[in-house]
Each structure stands twice: as structure tokens, then as C-alpha cells.
Amino acid sequence: MKVLHEGKVKRVLSDPNSPNHIILEFTDIVTAGDGEKKETIGGKGKLACETSDILFTFLESKGIKTHFDKRFDENQLRCKKVKIFPVEVVCRNVAAGSFCRRYDIERGEIFSPPIVEFFLKDDKLHDPLITRNAAVVMGLVTHEELAFMENVTRSVNYYLCQLFKQVDLSLIDFKLEFGRTDEGQILVADEISGDTMRLWTLTGESIDKDLFREASGDLIEAYATLVEHLKKATPKEIPIKKERIRVIVMPKQGLKNPPGEVTRKALTRLGFESVNDVRVGKVYDIELSHPITSEILEHLRAMNLKLLSNPVAEEAKVGLLVWE
């Protein structure tokens, strides 16, 4: 198998049987602080691989689309080939790590709703925080892609939190990467393991990479415990979270909008003379019994064409809502 990409702790290999897949190989290397601290710990790759296998399988069972196909070997996953977005997403339920340093707040503070942040994937720059506006204007992603990633990240957060709760662990924060297939599908990619999340036991002890970062415990023992816990969970009992989508339909630019004109006149009568123009449209709030996927966004476009808007006279915009 040809090495397509050599990452810090994983290797991407070509899949000899399919041009549309890759083999993701987990090494025993552990790094922290952008590679400043680096060690090889025997057995880590296999455990991170197994954790990812369990968690991707779980998320797929709840309808979240990921790049995961199957376990290929002890430390290898077969995945759909995607182009990774240069922006990664972090979701925080509880203050920890860099967030506490950045804003000088107490470790352990609970966030409700959870905080979602975007980071630029760039080792030389140490993966800095990036604003939505900068990411879009720099041409890294579109607003729609960011909204999609945030929405899916919040769904993933819900499902992971529920799963870990079953085995008395709490999910503090985690990082997700997204990729796009040649067909344009956006999928959750990379890995989901103790390397990419923080997990605390009921007594507040870490069972994640913080043990290595802070040299405060046995990483392998923790990762093995995590896998054991996950095997005891009962994913079927976790209910599907409903998602909500908002479709806004507006009269096309340049078309007269009589209801808007009547409203403008009425506002002027009320003394709001600075009101220059009003246009009246429609808003549809749609509840879905399934996480947001690229396919569902396609369905929404079809819903617009078929029923929600009339393209002769209206323009429709699909918005992803975060309603807690």
C-alpha cells in the first residue's frame, strides 16, 4: 500500500481495492503542544483505532454521515476518500485546556449551550482560532459549509454525550474534522478517540490525552479503560435528536411586493419615516427526524423547487438553525 500522506500520529495509505477509499493507519506516536512533546507508546495506535471504530459505527447508526467504512486491521480503518477542509471544529461542553488559558477562566465551568469554535489547520501557525468571517473571506470554506459543520458537530456532541453518560463519563470537549467526497458529500472525517477529546470520570479524572500532556497518568491504561467502557454502553437506547431547518422564501429582487408596500405605508403612518422599503416573505421552520446530511440539504433544495417556493417569482434560502 502506497503512503499518500504522513501525518503526526496517523498515516493515510491507498486502498489497493478501491480508488474511492483510503486506509487510515494509527501509529503508536503521541504528540502534544503541536508536536513539541512527542513519544512512542506501544499499543496506543490500536486503542485509538478501536475507539474510532466504535464511535464512528455508533454515529453512523444514528444517521450521521462519516467517512468510516470498516475496521481494516488492528490499527487500520478503511474510509471513504475525502478532501479534508482546512478548518477544524471544536465543541466545548466544559472549560478546559487552551480555552481556560485564552480567556483566563476556571477549568470546569459548564457551557450551556456548548461552544463551537473553528480553528485553522496549520501546524506552522499552531492551528490558530479563526473567525467565520475570516475563514469565508480567505476562501477556505463557505458560510453554508461552516453552518453545516457546526450543525453536525452539535449533533455529534449530543450523541457522544448521551453515550458517555451511560458509562459514567462526561465529554468535556472534542475536535472534529470534515471532508468532502468527489461527489460533494460532506462527511465527518479523521478520528474520534482519546487523542481528539477530553473525557472525565465522575470524580473529575481525565481518561484522555491530557494524561500525556500533563504527564499525570498511564495513557494506555486510560485508553483501554475507555474502550472497555464503550463496549458496555447501549447505543440503541439513545433517542434520535430532532433537527430543525429554516427555509426563508423572499420575492425576487426587482419584483414589486404589494404586501411589503402596504406595510411600508402603515409604518410611515405610525411615524417611522425612515422606513424606505419593506419586503414581505415567508419562513418555514421544518423539523427533521434525522441529523443533517448533505443528502438532506439536497432534499431541501428539491422541496423548494417542488413546493416551498415558486422560482418564477421567489428566491429561497435554506438556513441551518441551532435551537437549544
Binding site: 420575492p251 419584483l255 414589486k256 404589494p258 404586501p259 408596500e261 402596504v262 415567508k282 417542488k306 413546493l307 416551498l308 415558486n310 418564477v312 417569482a313
Partner: protein, 232 residues
């Protein structure tokens, strides 16, 4: 055999249409409910979609009705070249179903308009206006969304292929902005599909079908429709 008059939930002109058609010798209008199978339309010789407020005009006038299964039957029927007449909400349903071009926007006044208007019939012959070419007809309208709008290219096609049988005009037949009740492009009151077998019009010919109603001008249009159903 006969003329199917389709009733959706919220249609309210079906009996007016049936009564008006019954004045024409040889016609056998019958009521079809929109929840019936499209196959009931197979033996019809013509279809009328009458006015009203199908599905309460939710989303847009005609939008919900346009995706009902019965419309599959109407589409097949229309594609076979058989006559389909949509009046008022029926016109709106036919545009939403894309059996006719364009759409009907809210009236420019943003009000429901119920009044008698004059229609100038196209000078060039169309299947629905035989014997009426160039005449001025007096027929009432009653709608909130009758403001006809279509793209520039569609408008060019409508004009070039003589598919605008009726335009709002004054009592002398002048097609002027003052005679336009709702803001329709080019004073359009009705349009035909490419084949000329599907007509949509906002005015109500069935409400101008007897002298006692104030005008018989609408009956002439229904007679043309009835003739087409007998030829088909």
C-alpha cells in the same frame, strides 16, 4: 364521457361552472373530487379546474393543489392535447403545476378585487376564441392573486406565438394601464399553453353566462371550450 369539473378542498365555483356548462347543448359536466384516482379522468372529453381557494391558498395560491395526485391525470390529459380550462384559482393551479407558464402574484393593490372588467380578445384566432376575435367582453373577476408575471423569454414566447387570448381593457377595447385591475404584465388576463389546448384565465366566464347575471359574454368562451371537448 363528459366534462370533468375538479373540486379541491376549498374550491367554491364548481356548481356555477357545471350550471353554466349545462346551458350548452351536448355537454355532460360532472364533478370529480380531487382525492379520486387520476384514472377517473381517462374517459373525460374536457377538464375544468374552477375557482375558489384550494387548500386555503396556503404557501401560494394553487401550490398545494398542484402537487395532488389528480394533477398527474390532468397532466397526461393535457399532454394528449385535450382541452383543459383553469378559471381563477384553476389558472393559479395550472401555473403552479407548470402546465402554463408564469405565475400569479398578489394584486398590486394588495387587496382582494371583485368587479366587472372588460377583456379585449386577441385579433388572431385561438382555439378558445373562435368567433370572438377582436371583441370586447364584459366578465367579472374576483381574486387577490391575479397579477400575472413571467420571465422575459416566456413573455416573448407568449406574444410571438399568439398565446394571450385575453387582456384587460377599457369599455372601448383600449389596452391601457388604467384598465389593468391587478398589475398584470401586458394587461394579461389569460394565457394558453404551447399546444393551445390548455387555457388559464382569471376572469370568471361562468359568472357571465346568463343575461340575469349581467352578461352572457362568458358563455361564448365556455361554448368554444365545449366545442373543443366534442372535437377531441
Amino acid at each position: 364521457m363528459g366534462i370533468a369539473v375538479i373540486r379541491f378542498p376549498g374550491t367554491n365555483n364548481e356548481y356555477d361552472v357545471i350550471r353554466a356548462l349545462s346551458l350548452i347543448p351536448g355537454t355532460e359536466p360532472y364533478l370529480v373530487n380531487s382525492n379520486e384516482s387520476p384514472s377517473v379522468l381517462k374517459d373525460a372529453t374536457g377538464i375544468v379546474i374552477p375557482g375558489g381557494f384550494s387548500y386555503g391558498d396556503y404557501l401560494r395560491a394553487g401550490a398545494v393543489a398542484s402537487i395532488e395526485e389528480i394533477l398527474d391525470g390532468v397532466r397526461t390529459f393535457a399532454n394528449d392535447g385535450k382541452p383543459v380550462l383553469g378559471i381563477c384559482n384553476g389558472f393559479q393551479i395550472l401555473t403552479e403545476a407548470k402546465l402554463l407558464p408564469g405565475t400569479l402574484l398578489p394584486n398590486e393593490s394588495a387587496r382582494f378585487i371583485c368587479k366587472w372588467v372588460y377583456l379585449k380578445v386577441s385579433e388572431s384566432p385561438t382555439p378558445y376564441t373562435e368567433g370572438l376575435e377582436g371583441l370586447v367582453l364584459r366578465i367579472p373577476i374576483a381574486h387577490a392573486e391575479g397579477n400575472y408575471h413571467c420571465s422575459e423569454s416566456e413573455m416573448r414566447a407568449l406574444v410571438d406565438s399568439n398565446r394571450i387570448p385575453f387582456r384587460y381593457c377599457d369599455s372601448d377595447g383600449n389596452i391601457v394601464p388604467e384598465a389593468n385591475p391587478n398589475g398584470s404584465q401586458e394587461n394579461i388576463a389569460g394565457v394558453l399553453n404551447e399546444k393551445g389546448n390548455v387555457l388559464g384565465m382569471m376572469p370568471h366566464p361562468e359568472r357571465a353566462s346568463r343575461a340575469i347575471l349581467g352578461s352572457e359574454d362568458g358563455l361564448a368562451i365556455l361554448e368554444n371550450f365545449a366545442r373543443l371537448t366534442m372535437e377531441a
